[in-house]
């Protein structure tokens, strides 16, 4: 059943958000700390566990894969509602601070990634969400 996959995704999402809120509360903040990341870790763990017990059929998986596939269109919709007007009105301070931090971080990303010693594995070898 497709809904099993989507429900699994929804449960992981909700649990992750709740954990993130608790973590934020525990650290004395009003914001969510890593809720989505925690949800992702839960989903990875659930998939691993269900696979091992042979409880995940292809139809159920498609209930998750659809949402993974709709991801780019969602990002496009997200771009459509950015406050671009205000961003452009921010003036030279905002522009300089933003550009400066992107450039500095970019240099560090490049530096760290160049130091990667493992032979870069082509991602095509990674099997698709269908799993092992």
């Amino acid at each position: 059943m497709i809904i099993y996959g989507t429900a699994l995704l929804a449960v992981c999402h909700m649990l992750g958000i709740v954990c993130g809120d608790f973590l934020g509360r525990a650290l004395g903040m009003k914001t969510n700390v890593g809720g989505v990341g925690i949800a992702m870790l839960m989903l990875i763990a659930m998939r691993f566990w269900l696979h091992r017990h042979g409880r995940l059929c292809a139809t159920s998986e498609s209930g998750v894969n659809y949402w993974g596939g709709i991801y780019i269109p969602v990002v496009v919709a997200m771009a459509m509602q950015q406050n671009v007007v205000a961003a452009l009105r921010g003036g030279p301070i905002a522009l300089l601070a933003a550009t400066g931090s992107v450039v500095v971080c970019g240099c560090f990303i490049s530096f760290i990634n160049r130091a990667e010693t493992h032979p870069p594995e082509p991602l095509d070898e990674v099997h698709p969400a269908g799993g092992p």
Partner: protein, 254 residues
Amino acid sequence: MEIFEKAARENGLVAAFAVVGLVVMVSGFLSRQLTSGRVQGSAIAILIGLALAYVGGKISGGTKGLADIALFSGIGVMGGNMLRDFAIVATAFEVHPQEARRAGWIGLLALLLGTVLPFIVGVAVASLFGYTDAVSLTTIGAGAVTYIVGPVTGTALGASSDVVALSIATGVIKAIIVMVATPAAAKFLRLKTPRSAMVFGGLAGTVSGVSAGLAATDRKLVPYGALVATFHTGIGCLLVPSLFFLTVKAIVGK
């Protein structure tokens, strides 16, 4: 026309699927015809999206781009936090646990650097433009981390509203630069492996910038970058109004 408008308004999310589908289709066409596939379709789609957001913001005078126009209100649901996070979590289904584990520590290091470095740059620029008080300096520096850390910090420290607005603008511009520049800079950044995507997710910050930037570069890298980037705002909100503010205050003395 009236009937058409009413239908779009009452079926917002469905209309949004159609609009976004159309934009993605046009982008794919432009990518093949104008750049013979060299610039990814999704990169062009995001650019068109940002351009439409500008037009929408100009027409409506609101803060949510195209979503503030009644006809396109469904865009607000489709691209809002709920569906965005739902789709991001779904991409975790493609993650390989071994790959993610191998990059664990470097991801954490990237996250810390991704908070400290933009903050320093933000504070430096703010002081260059004449800000001298610790509250304003910290708030603008926080905006350079992400556009959520900016207002959270500003509110916590009691910064003036124009400084808060400035910090939000800084964060939004940063996210937009990351969205647009990542595909072009992918070679320089060595964005090829899951590990490199996790380093990117930690250092480039903001879920929106990272997820869109990676989507336009290589769809397979998205979950790895997003996994780290989702902790970015949390760490920023934790460190900036506390440790970083006290450090800035100790340096400038007021």
